[in-house]
Symmetry: C2
Subunit: 320 residues, 2 copies
């Protein structure tokens, strides 16, 4: 680790930096959902965040913390997902040049969206993206803004949960999806800062439970192949070195859900709650929605992490 | 007419009756939408109303105004759409028996949703539904709650615009979709009550412009066949006798949009604003979204009337 692991107060500092820049996203509730599950459920709708996902929060927080020399040189990352767009927009707003390394088979729409925020797109075979990133850093002096293994990304991601906890008051449990561990570790820090009695629980697709294994064992478990799950934001093979210690200290439990449970939850969010969420976001609600959490009237929060779904691809999976 | 046409103050009275029962729905805005259109646009999200559409407001208002004898006998309507669900839920909450006449080819999911709110479903050939309704009224003494040609339905529908205008402050224009005229006439009354300088504008699919013709001519124009439009909530063939006088007095303009414009607006609302809206709701935003309103920085409201969309059917129409 090149930088220290953040403390809970880092989330409070990040919240100050993004105030008025990131959207203070709404919290949705549903009488029907509460009746069906036997809980009081609060959904933090990061679908309505800038770039359509919580990723903007951490990216903006991270870029603000660069030195003037780093800002002048520019930033780089490798991502074809929401972090790419979040970093591109954050850099643009702060007048910093951003270069995004994407696999050459990334969907054209994702390249276009990222380029639309003013970033330079560099494409390469997926297997070479870390190497290409490293080369760009050496050549141009760019600063790498890692998608999740970065203290300022973690603290920024935690501001969504901070807003939720400040709005709802005491929650018994707070669920987030887990990919590389940025959102869960930031969320755990936020709860530690303002509601240490709230149980923070991470959820993964069953096919991608490396974070659960890592959290249980204390060692970073690396999947040998990209996991096969509809939740494209959670196909990360391993959590970060900054993320795991925070998860070990502050996360109460790690759960998994099946692909069928993800689809059922996604369908409910789209058709009944009228929220366009991506499959990764449905993962956070799936345990409470599918009855994995006994209906004991608990106050439950879930971070709906993003809404950048391929609707035409997913719609045929809906059963009614 | 059996009852007088409502005055603007009727909307204020309806708002008192539905307070705490209907959802006070959120108003969404988008930096990107404002940049693209050159306006300040405020979207009243009735997608998040109970039963997923504004129709609950008028139905609840109407049932509360029945006499005790009428409540004891029960209510009836003919609808396979949002009014059916709105009336079913309103009646259930007020302890009133509801019977809904639906065409026998209505989708099973719509029958199930309406029955789920406790209503009795009676099916018949579509052409006979008025006659079946009349027969039920004669046999059982039910009170007809018409989907739009009813002063209390109109006043209740206007409460969405009332909330919007109270939240945003002065608007230059306020758009609603127009089917039978319940929402546009209620909206026009709401504006007359609290912001008489706001121009209220109705929008129809070009294939279903009976209301535009009626508003221009002063006579109710009746389409001879059910119009062919994706906006299934707006396939009404004629406006109501209570609706047209209000529209003539208070509505500033009536516009039409093409099917292609409806689809383009729907796509933007789903994919960029992450809102599941039905095609009828997209109709309200279509004029401002597609550039029919010159980009002069005006403050524009649009009522996103509902979110009960058949996602699997519509998704293939999205282009990217």
């Amino acid at each position: 680790m090149t930088t220290p692991t953040p403390e809970p107060t880092a989330v409070l500092e990040a919240a100050q930096r993004i105030q008025g820049i990131a959207n203070h996203t709404p919290v949705h509730t549903s009488r029907t959902l509460n009746q069906q599950t036997g809980h009081q459920i609060y959904l933090k709708c990061e679908t309505f965040q800038r770039v359509g996902a919580f990723k903007f929060r951490g990216a903006y927080n991270a870029v603000t913390q660069l030195t003037d020399a780093q800002k002048a040189a520019g930033v780089v990352t490798h991502s074809s997902g929401n972090h790419a767009q979040g970093l591109a927009l954050a850099a643009k707003l702060l007048g910093v040049k951003a270069t995004i390394v994407m696999p050459d088979n990334a969907p054209a729409i994702k390249k276009a969206a990222t380029a639309g925020y003013g970033a330079t797109i560099v494409t390469c075979p997926a297997i070479e993206r870390e190497a290409v990133c490293a080369q760009l850093i050496e050549e141009h002096g760019y600063t790498l803004i890692h998608p999740y293994d970065n203290p300022n990304i973690i603290a920024g991601a935690g501001t969504a949960a901070l807003e939720l906890l400040q709005e709802t008051g005491p929650l018994d449990m707070l669920f987030t999806p887990v990919g590389g561990g940025g959102l869960i570790s930031g969320t755990a820090l936020a709860a530690a800062a303002v509601q240490p009695n709230c149980r923070v629980i991470g959820v993964e697709p069953a096919t991608a439970n490396d974070a659960q294994q890592s959290w249980q064992s204390g060692e970073i478990v690396r999947l040998t192949a990209v996991p096969n799950t509809l939740a494209d934001g959670l196909r990360t093979r391993f959590v970060g070195e900054h993320n795991l210690p925070i998860m070990r200290q502050y996360v109460s439990d790690m759960m998994t859900v099946t692909e069928a449970e993800i689809i059922a939850t996604l369908q409910y969010l789209w058709t009944r709650l009228k929220l366009v969420v991506e499959p990764s976001a449905a993962v956070a609600l799936a345990p409470a929605f599918t009855g994995k959490i006994a209906p004991s009237g608990q106050r439950i929060g879930a971070i709906l992490s993003g809404g950048n779904a391929d609707i035409a691809q997913l719609a045929p999976l809906l059963t009614a």
